[in-house]
Amino acid sequence: MSKDILNQKLTNEVSSIFDQVDVVVGYCGSNNPLMVNPCFIEEKEGLDQLIFNQLCINNLASYAYKLSKRIKGNIAMVVKPCDSKAIAQLISEGLIERDKFKLLAVQCPGVLDHKKITKALKGARVFSLNIGADKIEVETATGTQELTKDEFYADKCYWCKIYNKPPLHDIFIENDQKFSLEPRDRFEDIQDLEKMSLDEIFSYWQQEFERCIRCYACRNICPLEVCQDQCIVHLDYPNWQSQKVDADENKFFQMIRVMHLAGRCVECGECERVCPQNIGLLKLMKKMNQIIGDIFDYEAGMDIEAKPPLLTYKTLEKNIKEEEL
């Protein structure tokens, strides 16, 4: 029943501010029991569709920049605490206006990754899904199965520390479903890679990018990559990127993304989620964020007043040791 109470709260909060906004961006149900859809509600009648549950893995901040350009009035957005980081980062860079957004942050119990569930079910068709306190009950073509919930959270949830304190919000909606994971080390998954020798790590990435089909889904979903229409991979001159799809070119495309997002990526994991080839793209970003954190002591999206480190400088850099040749 707890789910219904939350949804009721959410609908109440949204309808209380509905007069001040032009559109509400939130989640609503879909045909696939493993997924929810993002929805854009402009009429008051539509508000009943709004839901929030543990399947709401999408980062709605991906729509923030384009919507803010298209819509004259204000935008209400349902966000998880981690998603509000992306909005905060966009504001700190001056890409969107603070006043335009009404953020309804929902206390997050962690979200489930449908890719992992599908994998555990070996691709069986799912008819219905029931999320319990620590079990997931799935009804498939072959019968009902119970899965332990702890294994199926999205990767980002395992190190999340801000599930109950979003860096930026207007309304905070409490949830009686509690967050149950012990926070792990944020850079756990890149540690294995860092232990490898240069040749090993080189061939690791080569293998990963063999698979890439350069569909640009990772770029298109990213909430912070706002210059998609003028993306340098589409330029004829200067010719940064050829149309050839091979490991070298694909890797170079990711390098463009890494450099572009240096000190800006909020690690929402959307690039990895939408990747049709399951390439571990977030590892590339995490390494960059780790470096930025070490050198400039900065984490993206935590403070709308802080300037992203590569957009500013200090005359004396404490943590940069220049080498003398």
């Binding site: 890149i190 890679l193 860092e194 240069l198 040749d199 790590i201 080189f202 061939s203 690791y204 990435w205 080569q206 940064w240 490991a247 070298d248 890797k251 170079f252 390098m255 463009i256 890494v258 450099m259 240096a262 000190g263 590339l284 390494k287 960059m288 470096i291 930025i292 070490d294 050198i295 400039f296 480190p309 590569l310 400088y313 200090k314 005359t315 850099e317 940069i320 220049e322 080498e323 003398e324 040749l325």
Partner: protein
């Protein structure tokens, strides 16, 4: 992207030479390397120099692209901090280049293959030292 291509390209070009791409700031380092030339200081011939208006003009992707095209090493040189012709270009550059340098090992490139240095227009001697040492270093990484 990188080492395979380097090896491949090396087969076609002169075998013994390492190839280094150098990005030099128009106002200090380019003049500095010129000064080294006028003073007849001997330098290795491995450098291909690209003149840029300021070290702040350098996009970290220039360096990655140079590696992707088969360079053995990349050298960036600009004005000393506080001496920038545009007052703060090299401060921005320093942050970007440092971040890139720390990142290189993660994609399988030895970070010693990339260096950034500050050389002013009058430092012909320093320029010679930088080039000689950098070429020596790249050669030792390549195992020559």
């Amino acid at each position: 992207m990188m080492t395979e291509q380097i090896k491949e390209n090396k087969g076609q070009a002169q075998k013994e030479e390492v190839r280094i791409v150098a990005f030099l700031c128009n106002w200090c380092s380019y003049a500095g390397s010129d000064a080294a030339g006028t003073a007849r200081l001997r330098q290795p011939e491995n450098l291909r120099i690209i003149r840029v208006p300021c070290s702040g003009r350098i996009n970290p992707l220039f360096i990655l692209k140079a590696f992707a095209m088969g360079a053995d090493g990349v050298l960036v040189s600009g004005c000393h901090p506080n001496d920038c012709h545009y007052s703060d270009g090299n401060f921005y550059a320093r942050r970007r280049l440092e971040v890139l340098k720390e990142y290189l090992p993660f994609i399988g490139i030895d970070k010693r293959r990339f260096a950034y240095q500050w050389v002013s227009a009058s430092e012909g001697q320093k320029w010679q030292r930088v080039v000689v040492n950098f070429v020596k270093r790249i050669k030792s990484i390549n195992g020559e």
